[in-house]
């Protein structure tokens, strides 16, 4: 397409194989030189038909699939699934299991943000913070391996509780990790968070105003960065969160960045990591004794009905809409993921940005392909 002056529009394919798309995503980018006219995401490369699979597996055997909906925040998906089935069944989860779920969830949130922030830095050219954050994530992976046997897809939550109780000494190890974590965040902060170049790459770039964010269904750190003060853990509390005290970082305040820009998203995630550490400390102190599995019927056959259960995942609201027809397999399971909404916004934010900015936007929105495609 040539405009009046004779300049052509280049169509670039940031194709499924690209070092900086998160997962197998594709963007068709229409640019005028460096400045984009439009960036259209093409998704579906990682569509595995998980929702169809849910209709063929039993409620318990679906949990490993749930982990793979978003393998970086596996605990949240299985927790949401367990919550949905528990609500249909009317099963109560013992307190110890709830607190263990919270500990696992917050550890998972930290691990996820390690990757998220690391990838933002890496996509913007700073390779070192990624490795440092991965070093910390290794410790978390080791903790999970000790807890439930897996390092990435944990298969941890069960309908009615969790699969394994904390082994001996595990809680002290979590405590030691959390104790050291402040220093890690301080190191990260000193290394990269206020680096002039990084800030300039992200300040004012890809601004999502609060109204657009709500209208497009943006959730989680992206929504908070846009200035909307909303966190499911605090505002619609579930699991063991009602007793715990933590701050919810909202973008655009205290002078760090414009609300809704890439830097605000960075800041919000960084602060969330600290708050997760705080939550873990409180959860460790509040862990009661008791069973880790509730009373369940022999076969899990929820009565006819439907439920929507959501948790505040690392990327935002991760919810499942579960329809039961009274049999032992779900009738319909629909997963609502935050990356889906975030991807749908990219076409809106992209006009006028440069290609280098698109990379920053995708990275800070923390979109990940498996969640978009399921």
């Amino acid at each position: 397409m040539t405009d009046a002056v004779g300049r052509e529009e280049i169509v670039l394919n940031m194709g499924p194989h690209h070092p900086s798309t998160h997962g197998v995503l594709r963007f068709v980018v229409y640019t005028d030189g460096e400045i984009m006219r439009k960036a259209v995401p093409e998704v579906g490369y990682l569509h595995r038909g998980i929702e169809k699979l849910a209709e063929q597996t039993t409620y318990t055997s679906f949990i490993p699939y749930a982990d793979r909906i978003n393998y970086l925040e596996a605990v949240f998906a299985s927790q949401a699934w367990a919550m949905a089935v528990e609500r249909l069944l009317g099963v109560e989860v013992p307190k110890r299991a709830e607190v263990l779920r919270v500990i696992a969830a917050e550890l998972n949130r930290i691990a996820n943000h390690c990757i998220a922030l690391g990838c933002v830095a890496m996509d913007l050219g700073a390779y070192t913070p990624f490795i440092y954050l991965l070093r910390e994530r290794e410790t978390i992976n080791d903790l999970f391996e000790e807890l439930c046997g897996a390092r990435l897809t944990f298969n941890y939550a069960r309908v009615g509780g969790v699969s394994h109780d904390a082994p001996d000494g595990w809680l002290d190890k979590v405590g030691a990790f959390v104790a050291r974590f402040d220093k890690v965040m301080a190191e990260l902060h000193a290394l990269i968070s206020e680096n002039e170049i990084l800030v300039n790459r992200m300040l004012g770039v890809g601004v999502t105003c609060a109204a657009d964010a709500v209208a497009y269904g943006l959730v989680g750190p992206n929504l908070r960065a846009a200035g909307v003060d909303w966190d499911l853990r605090r505002d619609l509390p579930y699991s063991a969160y009602p007793g715990l005290d933590f701050a919810v970082p909202v973008g655009g305040r205290d002078g760090r960045g414009v609300a809704g820009d890439c830097y605000a998203r960075w800041v919000v995630r960084e602060e969330e990591m600290r708050q997760s550490a705080r939550l873990i400390r409180q959860a460790l102190a509040a862990l009661p004794d008791g069973p880790v599995m509730g009373e369940l019927p022999k076969k899990i056959k929820p009565p006819k009905g439907e439920v929507y259960a959501a948790v505040e995942g690392a990327r935002g609201e991760l919810g499942v809409y579960l329809v039961s027809d009274g049999s032992n397999t779900p009738y319909r399971a629909k997963w609502r993921s935050s990356s889906f909404s975030a991807m749908s916004m990219i076409e809106l934010i992209s006009p006028g940005l440069m290609i280098a900015d698109l990379v920053a936007v995708i990275a800070t929105l923390d979109t990940i392909a498996p969640e978009v495609d399921r």
């Binding site: 998704v43 579906g44 569509h47 038909g49 929702e51 169809k52 063929q56 609500r87 249909l88 009317g90 657009d212 709500v214 209208a215 497009y216 269904g217 909307v228 909303w230 505002d235 619609l236 929820p302 009565p303 006819k304 009905g305 439907e306 439920v307 929507y308 959501a310 609201e317 919810g319 809409y321 579960l322 329809v323 039961s324 009738y331 319909r332 629909k334 609502r336 889906f340 909404s341 991807m343 749908s344 809106l348 495609d373 399921r374």
Partner: protein, 163 residues
């Protein structure tokens, strides 16, 4: 929930059915002709203020010969949630698009079209989202038969029994 019932009953009268007796969340069913109007009311009415389209999806119910299009709504202002459905015919599934009401509906409706075959009138860009453009069939339907091959690639492994 009572305020939601009252506000919507005021707008739609008897057209809206309320289902509150099943396990899980209560929901309301609206006829397809009133779908757009009901959703607009849900967003615009002061008592409702459902500004957040949390989820929009479809369910194939061959037993009733319908495909249900369901929306989960939430209001940040009033902090209440609501589930609304419409049932479209299975043989010719057409519904109104909610894109004018919530821009978030854009991709949700594309996904429903892709996986269930429901066409949304008024949608700016209704094409397949998750599956390739030349895919045949709508997988989430209960009577979906997996094709033998796609572009020459067989969909089963030799010797493996189909589930």
């Amino acid at each position: 929930m009572k305020e939601i019932r009252d506000a919507l009953a005021e707008r739609l009268g008897t057209e809206i059915e309320w289902h509150e007796d099943l396990a899980g969340d209560p929901f309301a069913v609206v006829p397809p002709g009133k779908w757009l109007e009901a959703c607009r009311a849900a967003r615009d009415d002061e008592r409702l203020s459902f500004d957040f389209l949390r989820n929009q999806t479809g369910t194939d119910v061959p037993a009733d010969e319908v495909i249900e299009v369901v929306v989960h709504l939430f209001s940040y202002k009033h902090r209440h949630a609501f589930v609304m459905k419409t049932r479209v015919s299975r043989t010719d599934p057409v519904a109104d698009s909610l894109v004018p009401v919530w821009p978030a509906a854009n991709w949700y409706e594309r996904e429903i079209y892709d996986l269930l075959g429901v066409r949304f009138t008024g949608h700016p860009d209704l094409r397949r989202l998750l599956l390739p453009e030349d895919w045949v069939g709508h997988p989430l339907r209960k009577d979906y038969a997996r094709p033998e091959s796609y572009q020459g690639i067989p969909t089963t492994r030799p010797g493996k029994e189909d589930r």
